[in-house]
Amino acid sequence: MAQALTAALGHALRSDRDVLILGEDVGTTGGVFRITDGLQTEFGPDRVIDTPVAESGIAGAAFGMAVAGLRPVAEIQFLGFAYPAYDQIVSHISRIRTRSQHRFTAPLVIRIPYGAGIGAAEHHSESTEAIFAHTPGVKVVVPSTPADAAGLLLTAIADPDPVIFLEPIRSYRRVRGEVADPPRPVAFGEAAVRRSGTDLTLVAYGAMVPDTMDAADDLAVAGIEAEVLDLRTLVPLDYDTLLDSANRTGRVVLVQEGHRTCGFAAELAATIQEEALYSLLAPVTRVTGWDTVVPLRRAEHHYVPSPERIAAAGRAVMEA
């Protein structure tokens, strides 16, 4: 997935001089995950900009650039370091369109590696996508495959509104797959059906998709055919695919790595029971991270939903 992202950024920079990249260490070293590797050499330090260590400054400067008509792609090194930029996102980036009634807009992308699973230090394993989904005026994208990563990123850069683009850290090197050259844009608001099934619906996004697929395989061994939906974008949300599947199977397991309370799975569960209650054969079940700090390496496995936990939830829902 890492290479797909690099390819998409290169393509965007090549196609449009208004696109530029800024962030900590994105230039000389190509970023802590090497996603911008080689881009400063190709496009120069005015278009691939190493900034001081200041996330609010990065977001705020990108905002100004976007208002002036550029298409900045900012990188924050880890989701745990995006919180200093939260005020700029919530108070300004997400609101300038409303505030100015379309007169000014902020077509920018903030790329942020997120999620646990590599046993990193504290603050390096966050999945707090819900706080962005709760913020009116920003779109929230979480790819799970290389082709989606590249394609959704191109769509994000072309989008007329600000996009929070969350990249699953543990998929960077682990998840592989074909990507067209140049990458093909992938539309927002269209969930992907990663696996068809009639017995129950598993819903996931980002880093949890591979684990959810593994869980579906496990369930299949036991004769349970799960449909797996990959949401791809949380805002906008593809209600049609979600509700259609829920209505067909009547049993839904929502998978989310983030903290449980007020996570995105809560929104999905609330929505499904609001709109498909009478189809439900069992409670909509959430498999989530907990309301704890993400544990460090030695205890991380207690937190992150595993294929086993997802499969167990699937079995429980079948028995309910």
């Binding site: 900009i49 400054g57 100004g64 700029q88 300004h92 009634q101 007329p160």
Partner: protein, 341 residues
Amino acid sequence: MHQVLQTDGTLRAAAPLDVSTTRQLYAAMVAARTYDHKGTTLQKQGRLATYASFLGQEACQIGATGPLRPDDWLVATYRDAGAMWAQGYPWVNLFLGRTGDERGGAAPPDVNVLPPSITVGAHMIHAVGLAWAEQYRGTDRVALTMFGDGATSEGDFHEAMNFAGVFGVPVIFLCQNNHYAISTPRHRQTAAETLAAKADGYGMPGRQVDGNDLFAVYDAVAAAVADARAGGGPTFIEAVTYRLSPHTTADDPGRYRPAAEEEEWRARDPLDRVRRYLEANGEWSPAWQDELEQAAAADVDAAITAAEQLEPLGAAAVFDAVFAEPTPQLLRQRNRAATDE
């Protein structure tokens, strides 16, 4: 502290402006004050939500925008209506914002003035981004950002100053040190001797000027703008002034500052000073003053009428200005809202 025009209207140094431009800027100061008085009055009548007066800060507002071109950027605050107007932001927009109507934020297409910043401190980095974009594109536009003494305490001030310094961005930081942030006096805001002293920490020139002196403010900003246009990077200017009014119409300055202090500053009124100067040069008359005030009042009144005649936004408008196209989430909610009502 840089001063050109003294309280009595005499010059300490050469005037940076010819007489005709001075008359124009004086007229703008009168207009700004007319609007400002009206704002306070309308709020008392319940016709505006709150109002933040800039009474006493007119030299800053008109002096700072004087050297700008119409295509330069201005990123200012809730207290900078005078400057925004001088840069092309219509009175009607300013009133609309104050009545609580989002359409106040929609500057005309050719006006590069952002809606006033309500948050303290976050907007200076926006000016940095705007100016950076102009630099990247190779235009010679600059960005002027205005903020208060209190705003210098926010972390975002620091990041904005630092980015501007590192990237040599064509931005001018104009701090109106009006001695208070709501009730907090300047000396409790920072232990620095002057606010201008902060510039050094960002490798940027810092100047302190008499903020009640139109010429001093104009002079300093003009130099900074010329520098920025020529690729010389950012400048920080501390304009020392005083808010003669309450913080907003909800505030009672009697709780935190002596009336005598207000009186002292009233004697340094920035309009009086220019008037005396013009008068001494035979360029001011009571009749002209009347003319200016009446023209300004007419403009301002027309703007109020226009603002108040506008129908409030309907429910659908609330959902339709979040994104270019409403998301499915918003469409569902818009429908639900329509059903509820």
